[in-house]
């Protein structure tokens, strides 16, 4: 196993600088209570002015006033670390946030895909620089050793444990990640490097220091495993794009929408799941956001399709006010089962799968426009069908027409010929839909065959209920 440690020494500052156009201007991050603001981090330009972390804001302002300030936001640091973990998840399945301001990656199993470690490392560095985060990268056979080496080195790679012993042995005790008082005690004992420490009998170390110290040394050298919590990407997708100007037309929303849906598709592919419902929020100034839910009949994850659906609905949406930001939220991400495809498709030019076609029809015609048909074992014509396909064997019945009229029509025709009947249908006394009818097969003068009924005990005209088409 080879573990890479990416140490992010300036995570808070880099996170703030990402959003500022003047990255070289002096900037200090402030923490502490409102009464006593303390500089937590400064960028190089501010450091050149003499500002140091730990100074109080008043002291800093006494030195110079030409620096900008921002809040040292702990939640933001957390967020940036998770953001980077999501980024690192593309390179390794085992990404851990075990140490603060630091990412641990198991890279041995990714070497085949991303090339030998020097190439891989160069790529990680290039991407981190592109994202705007300063970093130090080291690699070692154990995660704890990689972390400790990152304290002292940048770009160091230790391929095996023999070399690891040697390198760690030269490391001063202050850099070993031991508690400060332990390191001080060791120095006072005249022990300056790890090799000296390891040369001591183990039981005397155990007697002088707490058990944590030995445990830490064992984890460093790989004699004791380090239990790591691995990063898992979140179970919901929630992305937001703030528009640079107020958008009033649908056309201008399509570009950010395409980016959001492409992100969603990439995310779904990475998690190997699909999406069945998602919601688009169009945010306005001083108004609640317009909400546009998009539902699919089954879980899908194809980028083109995920874009096509909200696009179709967006055209029908009335915008109450200009749009400032657009947000896509997908809370349920069910498993995605790809459709089985034949290697030799019978229709080679089949351009659209049935699922895509169905969604396209539903988008334009409405959610309920596409329906199936199923039979129910009920003699009443009104209750003999459902909108879902059913699997049941039906009891035998008399002749039934191919078309059923939604509303019975009265047949005012003198020359009706009755071909068959009556067939009594009497049912439904238990559910309120009581029906007592005599059905006849009739033929009109024009030769049309219909299915008509008369209520039992009612002498009125026949009511047409279907056509034997």
């Amino acid at each position: 196993m080879l573990w890479a440690c990416i140490l992010l020494p300036q995570l808070a500052m880099d996170g703030v600088l990402r959003h500022r156009s003047d990255a070289d201007a002096p900037l200090a991050l402030l923490g502490g209570s409102p009464q006593r603001r303390v500089l937590q981090a400064v960028n190089p330009a501010a450091r050149a002015l003499g500002l140091r972390p730990g100074q109080s804001l008043t002291a800093a302002q006494a030195l110079t006033r030409t620096f900008a300030t921002a809040d040292y936001d702990v939640a933001a640091i957390e967020r940036w670390q998770r953001f980077l973990a999501a980024w690192a998840y593309a390179f390794s399945a085992q990404v851990s946030l075990h140490y603060p301001r630091c990412l641990l990656l198991e890279v041995q199993s990714s070497l085949r895909l991303f090339g030998p470690w020097p190439h891989f490392e160069a790529r990680l560095r290039a991407e981190l620089t592109g994202l705007g985060f300063r970093h130090r990268i080291t690699a070692a056979p154990t995660p704890a050793a990689a972390r400790v080496l990152a304290n002292a080195y940048d770009g160091l790679t230790i391929p095996d444990s023999a070399l690891l012993h040697e390198t760690l042995g030269r490391l001063p005790v202050e850099r070993l990640g031991l508690p400060r008082e332990v390191a001080a005690a060791l120095t006072r004992m005249g022990l300056h490097s790890l090799s000296q420490l390891l040369a001591l009998p183990r039981d005397s170390l155990a007697r002088r220091f707490s058990a944590d110290v030995l445990a830490h040394l064992d984890t460093l050298l790989g004699n004791r495993p380090l239990a790591l919590d691995f990063y898992r990407p979140p179970d919901v997708f929630d992305a937001r794009i703030e528009l640079n100007f107020e958008v009033e037309s649908h056309q201008a929303l399509l570009f950010p929408l395409r980016r959001l849906t492409a992100d969603l598709a990439a995310y779904l592919a990475g998690r190997d799941c699909g999406v069945q419902h998602f919601t688009l929020y169009l945010e306005h100034r001083n108004q609640t956001a317009s909400r546009m839910p998009v539902g699919l009949l089954s879980a899908e994850r194809e980028a083109a399709m995920l874009f096509e659906l909200p696009r179709g609905r967006l055209e029908y949406l009335q915008l109450p006010a200009p749009v400032l930001a657009i947000r896509l939220e997908a809370l349920e991400l069910p498993a995605f089962t790809p459709e089985h495809r034949q290697l030799f498709d019978e229709r080679p030019q089949q351009s659209l799968s049935w699922e895509q076609l169905r969604e396209r029809l539903r988008t334009r015609l409405g959610d309920n426009a596409v329906q199936s048909l199923g039979a129910r074992a009920d003699h009443r014509p009104e209750h003999a069908w459902v909108e879902q396909p059913t699997e049941l064997s039906l009891p035998p019945c008399g002749p039934r027409p191919g078309w059923l009229l939604a509303e019975p029509l009265s047949l005012r025709e003198s020359s009706l010929r009755i071909l068959a009947g009556p067939e009594r249908i009497e049912s439904g006394w238990w559910d309120g839909g009581d029906v007592r009818r005599d059905y006849y097969v009739v033929e009109t003068r024009a030769g049309q065959r219909g299915w008509a009924f008369r209520k039992v005990g009612d002498g009125g005209p026949l009511l047409l209920h279907g056509w034997f088409a």
């Binding site: 089949q350 799968s353 048909l373 039934r400 030769g447």
Partner: protein
Amino acid sequence: MSSVLALNSLLDARRVWRGQVSFSPSAAQSTGHAGLDATLPGGGWPDSALSEILVAAAGIGELRLLWPTLARLTAAGERVVLVGPPHLPYPQAWLAAGVDLRQLVIVHAQERDALWAAEQCLRSGSCGAVLCWPQQADDRALRRLQVAAESGQTLAFAYRPLEEAINPSPAALRLALETRPAQIRVLKCRGGLAPARTIPAAGWQ
């Protein structure tokens, strides 16, 4: 020899046809009615094309004409789409005719949307047959359906009132269902002269 081959290929493509009706019983899209198959030049429905069924009135056998075809397609796992049917299909009757309802899809749409939906279904190539009931379809709309059926290699059926018989149509096959007497008249068929004789009800009901 080569000229004979060329002529055969022309005949096969049905760009040139012989004067007398020659019917091949091996056509892929049999109507399921022997009498009708014998009359149609391809021995069945023209494949990947629009067939127009002109109906004098409702309830004269317009569904019985298609049920064997739909039963065959759904049994083979092909999807059949009804775009904007005029009434509700009675499941028991369709099941009795052998149609597998699991493969049947109903699309509720009116007028222009119905034409659009039918065209989309035809063009997608994911359906076995598409039935539609255009009310105000002009020549252009029907031509679109015909082209869509060709590009999606799908059977298309359009039910229209019998009054439309006088207007020309780009459909590959036009059948008129008449009531008194109950018979089918072939108004137009690609690949042959429209047979003069009509098919009595006994031949297809």
